[in-house]
Subunit: 152 residues, 2 copies
């Protein structure tokens, strides 16, 4: 049946970020809806941000278009232009290689749910606020290319 029964898709609050940048994600619960559907063309995630949680470190992709729509609660979109409140039904677009680092933060007192769509991982990703860079094929490293310490 095409309609998604959300409770059948596992929710994870894990992050592949290095430990020193993994803090704000304990309250981010991601369900890989596209993977559950065996999608090949793009990824779809259903994300719940508990109060205080954020969607990612502020970033932009060289080779991945990204789209977000808010379903419930509110989130603050932080990007180079400032801070923008997003309410249910609001959408945001992040075209590849636009150089505008972005993230969403739940600064409200209720959970925020959203859907995020993106191309499957490819190309480098830039993080303007922190000393981290995603080198395609090599994972997250410091901007000078040195590796982070092994995580436990």
């Amino acid at each position: 049946m095409p309609k998604i029964a959300l409770e059948t898709i596992p929710a994870s609050n894990g992050t592949p970020y290095p430990a020193e940048f993994a803090g704000p994600f304990a309250g981010r619960w991601t369900r890989r809806v596209g993977s559950a559907a065996k999608f090949e063309d793009f990824g779809v995630s259903h994300v719940t941000l508990e109060p205080g949680a954020q969607s990612s470190q502020r970033h932009w992709h060289e080779q991945e278009d990204e789209f977000v729509v808010v379903l419930s609660g509110t989130a603050t979109l932080v990007d180079d232009t400032g801070r923008t409140l997003m309410v249910p039904g609001d959408m945001a677009v992040f075209p590849k290689n636009d150089g505008n680092g972005h993230m969403l933060v739940n600064e409200g007192d209720q959970p925020c749910t959203l859907v995020a769509v993106g191309a499957h991982g490819r190309g480098d990703c830039h993080y303007p606020d922190i000393d981290m860079h995603l080198f395609h094929g090599k994972g997250w490293r410091r901007k000078d290319g040195t590796e982070f310490p092994e995580q436990e």
Copy 2:
């Protein structure tokens, strides 16, 4: 600014379907959000279905994954398994080549808004209920390959 100002994106109720199958779409208003963002990786449409309107003819794609999330109002998902009500926040997935023809119909008395994501047009598309087929690169024809009359 990444947040979409919906009113800046033109809404169209046009359809490329041949005239005899274009009836239920006068009340379907589509905004090409992905195109406005110059997305290359996938298409994103914001769709308003007025009462009685439907999202498409019932169909399935050989080579395009599709995803839908309802934002407001209600829609009835019609597919091979039957009829399923979808309310705000509900999502549905239509993996490529699953052979399960699907469409959404607004049977409520309020407009329904939704976001639809799909790969850019490629491959054939099947319509189980009507004598129409999308031949990739040749457009919509009858199932035996003959062309529809020219539209005005």
